[in-house]
Symmetry: C2
Subunit: 298 residues, 2 copies
């Protein structure tokens, strides 16, 4: 019996599933062999180790991968597809040393103006579309580099990414705010600050200095300052990208904690986003991608 | 003859001048003993070393200092004065071990809403006002934490700081943009990008990711990407703080290179700022502060 393996290869993690002919998960594995820890040569051995328990003695094994495996520093580079286009077009066959493996990588998406790229999120978008084929709206995928994707008629029309999560990490660990933003969290402070941030049109760099000054002038708890920093950054992103989501439905796809913060920021800005689980949609997208590749001429 | 010493104690540098009774500079010294390298106990020895050639054998020596010497991690903490107020009110006498020294530190300014603080720039503002007593407008002091100061009738009405310089340093050395922003610079790219940034109302975090995506999609020279990063950050600051400077004169005070970038950003936004030298105004402010302290009851 043919074994099919699908994988989501992220910057910090690799997740692998075995699927039966009906698309049901028959096995799963997770590894910390993310792209950031691997040279291109190390991808195939890392895959074989992570998927060892799922692989048959003999081939062939059909493998379909989304995410950073197709980046220039990945397993083998797979060119971006330029939007507007369907989220997943034709997964690209790459060469392998192990003769059992028939590996395809799902291309990421690119946009020329404004310049933008994604690798991996297109598969979650495809998973969402599999269940909502007529969706006309926006998908927000919070993360280190949050994506805002405009969809209509089964296609990605355009998208924007914001490095809000990366800014939060840099500012809370490496900046003059680092001493003020310790552990802990204050939900009430986040809500109050995000309500202000989504309507404010002042410069982000000034709001950030205001956080530092407030720390010098009064003793705020580190958890409160941490929540306020997050609120300023997410609030500015949501407000600045209002032209993308205004008057359209917004679907939020992401892990519970971060998606919850975007949910509260969008509600403060007058949106009513609906939430969806990221892991389920990744798997749904990988299943959908298998069908796309099987339908195309070989 | 009484010797007077004035000093500007910054985070990374200490500058000292000797003045005669007429306020003329009779000697000067510079040291790298900035606040960031000193514990509070080390300030007095550092001062005596830096000013050694300017000090008389016997006292008393009147010393007047602006900047970070009055910070909580400085020589001795001097409380902020809350705006609205004159830029320099009463310099505060601190205790010293050396009996020759009569040291006063100029207080910084604070603002409660929005929270803000400055230490050192108030002296440049006082120096500017000494030559322009009726100034009704804004002073912009570019730096790691750029200050925008609203002045009227000899008083600071309000001010905002923006950590634009710090963001530039963090993003160009510690972020996923670091590999794209090497040495070098492209003036034409700065001008083109700053023209776009001063009118754009999109999220800063999205513009920053756009820079990364452009680097992945095409091979921009590192100097061009560095100039574009600077233009995005300064342009967003100038545009975001437009309510502060719109319809008012703007005086730009700062070192030539950075002030030039703000000058070009402000011109792109429709302003016609006038430029002034920072070092001269610091000295003018310290001279003015001497008069303020001498006029007050002892």
């Amino acid at each position: 019996m043919m074994v099919r393996i699908v994988a989501d290869w992220g910057t910090s993690r690799l997740r692998v599933w075995a699927l039966n002919a009906g698309g049901e998960v028959t096995g799963a594995a997770t590894s910390d062999a993310g792209m950031s820890r691997l040279t291109p040569d190390a991808f195939e051995p890392a895959f074989l180790r992570a998927a060892a328990a799922l692989l048959p003695e003999e081939g062939p094994v059909e493998v379909l991968i989304c995410g950073m495996a197709g980046a220039s520093a990945g397993w083998q580079e797979v060119s971006y597809k330029a939007v507007p286009c369907e989220p997943i077009t034709r997964p690209e066959r790459i060469t392998t040393r192990d003769p059992r493996l028939n590996v395809r990588i799902i291309p990421g998406l690119s946009q020329s103006a404004p310049s933008d790229v994604m690798r991996g999120e297109e598969t979650q978008v495809a998973g969402f579309l599999a269940a909502h084929p007529g969706y006309n709206g926006v998908i927000c995928l919070p993360g280190t580099h949050t994506k805002w994707v405009r969809l209509a008629k089964g296609r990605v029309l355009s998208f924007r990414s914001a490095m809000t999560g990366e800014l939060f990490d840099l500012l809370s660990t490496r900046s003059t705010l680092a001493g003020l933003t310790g552990d802990g969290w204050d939900d009430a402070v986040f809500d109050e600050a995000v309500n202000g941030a989504v309507v404010s049109q002042t410069a982000l760099a000034a709001d950030l200095f205001g956080l530092r000054a407030a720390g010098l002038l009064s003793q705020a708890a580190p958890g409160a300052t941490r929540a306020r920093l997050s609120a300023i950054l997410i609030g500015q992103e949501v407000a600045g990208l209002r032209p993308i989501w205004q008057d359209l439905p917004v679907a939020l796809i992401g892990d519970a904690t971060l998606a919850d913060l975007y949910h509260r920021a969008l509600r403060a800005a007058g949106q009513r986003p609906e939430r969806f689980d990221a892991a389920e949609l990744t798997l749904a997208g990988l299943r959908a991608a298998f069908e796309i590749y099987r339908e195309e001429p070989q």
